[in-house]
């Protein structure tokens, strides 16, 4: 039992687990993007084979990104990331403190080809961009014992291994390192991902948002926040060719005993008032509806397309403004449509209800009146309404901070990885140089080789000979 638990624990911390999770998440995202999301069950049964529709509904593929298993997998990935980072932390600390020393490098010098030069290595290292070069000496025994001496001169003709008699002598060394902090790149990237996922997840749980729409002059409540939003002005700015350049709403938000705050919202320029963020989200048509009784104006008010007006005088009688056509014409199929966005010939598509019963549905043009018994209804003064989305997500900054961390961490991981160079003086006074860079590999050594007598090429034969 304990064994199994341990095994499971080890798996949770492993990269293998991360790889499997990422593959499943990628497949889930693929399904979520290819299958229409958030439709009714009837939609899937009508559009897919029975068994496929059944599977879609059973595995919640109709709402992949919010379903329990997707959230579960994401949490699992977070646990994995966290475990991985916690486990690796001590090793990284240790490597940072003790890993970058001449002793570590020169003693463990194995398999890295070297180049030979008569020039003082310090100069070469400086030219390569290394600043602090440490001069040191090392017991020849230490160099020889690790096999380092054989590796630093790869070809047999060059080989001048430290002999047994000189083992006790000390060998001058040079060592330099840069970008040590680079070892934290991947670790910080993982941390950043955790923060992004946490910020996004918490945001999904705790954000609140409301839509407020209306025409200038109207004041509407902002959901249940206790605030109200007054639309002071709404402008649709057109270019010369009648295309829309910008939608702009001037608003005042007040309530909860605070002073009103005023500002302008437009597309791509959200506004923060009373800690709530306001976005210019969309627009549509509204009109003034007038209701007459015996030719006397009984009531009037502005309604937006999609809204209804109740006739105050007669319970159950209502008119819905379904749609508005600024330049109303009948299309080839007889359906109403608009010929242009310009307000040339307004047409109002309405439905008249009496309780649940539809009394009529048609398009009214300007000055036409619907009559029902003693009542007359007409639409006038079409104007565009504005829809403002109001949102409060206290966790957006957290997700943003995570994103920023991931970006910086990637720069660290990819472009500032640790690089080391070192040199050991040979018996004839020349130096054997070598270097190590995880990112540039052979290319880094080539750079180093420019300063040497011989390029550090290791042939397959050299490698084979060394392994024997």
């Amino acid at each position: 039992m304990m064994d199994r638990l341990k095994k499971a624990g080890r798996f949770l911390c492993s990269m293998k687990c991360a790889v499997i999770l990422l593959v499943i998440l990628a497949l889930a995202c693929t399904a979520g993007s290819l299958l229409p999301q958030g439709q009714t069950a009837a939609y899937y049964t009508a559009n897919y084979a029975e068994s496929l529709a059944g599977a879609i509904l059973l595995f919640r593929l109709d709402d992949v990104f919010h379903c329990w298993w997707f959230v579960g997998l994401t949490l699992f990935l977070c646990a994995n990331l966290l475990a991985c980072n916690v486990l690796r932390f001590p090793a990284l600390m240790k490597r940072m403190k003790e890993g970058f020393t001449a002793v570590k490098r020169i003693a463990g010098w194995d398999g890295v080809p070297a180049t030979v030069t008569a020039e003082e290595p310090e100069e070469i290292f400086r030219k390569l961009g290394f600043r602090n070069v440490t001069r040191g000496v090392m017991a020849a025994a230490k160099v020889a014992q690790t096999g380092g001496a054989e590796t630093f001169v790869p070809s047999a003709a060059e080989a001048a291994p430290v002999s047994a008699d000189t083992a006790a002598a000390s060998v001058p060394t040079r060592y330099a390192v840069r970008h040590r902090a680079g070892i934290w790149g991947a670790w910080l990237c993982h941390l950043g991902m955790l923060v992004v996922i946490a910020g996004f997840g918490l945001g999904q749980m705790f954000q609140v948002q409301y839509s407020v729409y209306g025409v200038p002059g109207q004041t509407k409540p902002v959901g249940d926040t206790g605030y109200t939003l007054r639309i002071d002005d709404f402008q649709v700015k057109l270019r010369e060719d009648d295309t829309v350049e910008q939608y702009e709403t001037a608003v005042t938000v007040s309530g909860n005993g605070t002073a009103g705050e005023t500002g302008t919202v437009s597309v791509n320029h959200p506004l923060t008032l009373h800690g709530m963020k306001l976005y210019q989200n969309s627009t549509g048509w509204a009109a003034n509806v007038q209701i007459f009784k015996d030719s006397e104006l009984l009531q009037e008010g502005v309604i937006c397309a999609g809204e209804y007006a109740l006739v105050e005088d007669m319970e159950g009688l209502a008119v819905v403004l379904n749609a508005f056509y600024p330049d109303y014409v009948r299309g080839a199929d007889g359906m109403p449509m608009t010929a242009s966005p310009a307000l040339n010939h307004p047409g109002y598509l309405y439905t008249l209800y009496y309780h649940d019963q539809i009394l009529g549905m048609n398009v009214l043009t300007e000055d036409e009146i619907i009559t029902v018994e003693d009542y007359g209804i007409r639409f006038t003064d079409p104007q565009q309404y504005t829809l403002i989305q109001v949102k409060r997500d206290p966790f957006t900054p957290l997700a943003a901070a995570g994103g920023l961390l991931v970006m910086l961490a990637l720069v660290l991981a990819f472009y500032l990885p640790p690089e080391e160079v070192w040199a050991v003086q040979r018996e004839d006074g020349t130096w054997a140089l070598a270097g190590k860079s995880r990112k540039a590999g052979a290319y880094f050594l080539e750079e180093l080789a420019k300063y040497g007598a011989k390029p550090p090429v290791v042939t397959e034969d050299d490698l084979a000979a060394r392994q024997e």
Binding site: M15, A18, A26, S33, V267, N281, G403, M407, F414
Partner: protein, 276 residues
Amino acid sequence: MDSSGFLAIENALFTAVMILYLISMALYFIFFAMKNEKAARIAGWVITLAFVLHTAALIVRGVGAGRLPLTNQYEFATSFAWGICLCFLVFVKKYHFQALGTFVTPVIFLLIGYAAMQSREVRELMPALRSNWLGIHVSTAIISYGAFGVSFAVSLLFLLRQGRENHDFWKKNIPDYDRLDIISYRAVSLGFLFLTFVIITGAIWAERAWGSYWSWDPKETWSLITWIIYALYLHLRLNKGWRGRKAAWFAVIGFVCVLFTYIGVNTWIPGIHSYA
């Protein structure tokens, strides 16, 4: 000059660029098929010239339109091809590796061909697209996709190298496995870093324009899928057994995802990005 004058110049430049890319592709094929190194040298000059004219075409369009030429499918396709060419030239210069051209030029040509099929009309932008963040978003995408295009070509070479290790032509002109692996890795890491920028700047723009920084729109989702594929590449590469051939396959699949994110999503899946 009015905008139609600029458009006429751009059209002429675009045609010249397309022809030059075609010539350089043919020369790179000759280099590869007939082991003719002179062809590669000439191809290198031709593609550099194509790049210069391509840059000029983009600038002319930008000046004519009075904005960055990065907003519709045509503009993005031609910029995407330009980005691959830029990354290709940088990598060739850095790693002295002309043979890459044989595999990169077809990708460039494919994208330029796709661009040629799109409408070149300069249209005014809807309000949501008028954003500096969008400019940064798309510019970073060009670099990212360009780098992935290069890693795709390098990985194809890696996969094709097998069985040809001892051919003189390959020995002389194509870096060994280790180096191909490093070049591909360098290209993927550049692409991955920039793809991360792309996703983050896209999220910032979406938040400002639509009020939500991530809404699982198909284009967002596919860029995430692409990002995961390359994250897998980076992790699998850490494993000795996976470094090399298997990682190379991931780099190839990753680029197919890049193309799908860019072309496929617009073509087959509706979403708020579809107009872009």
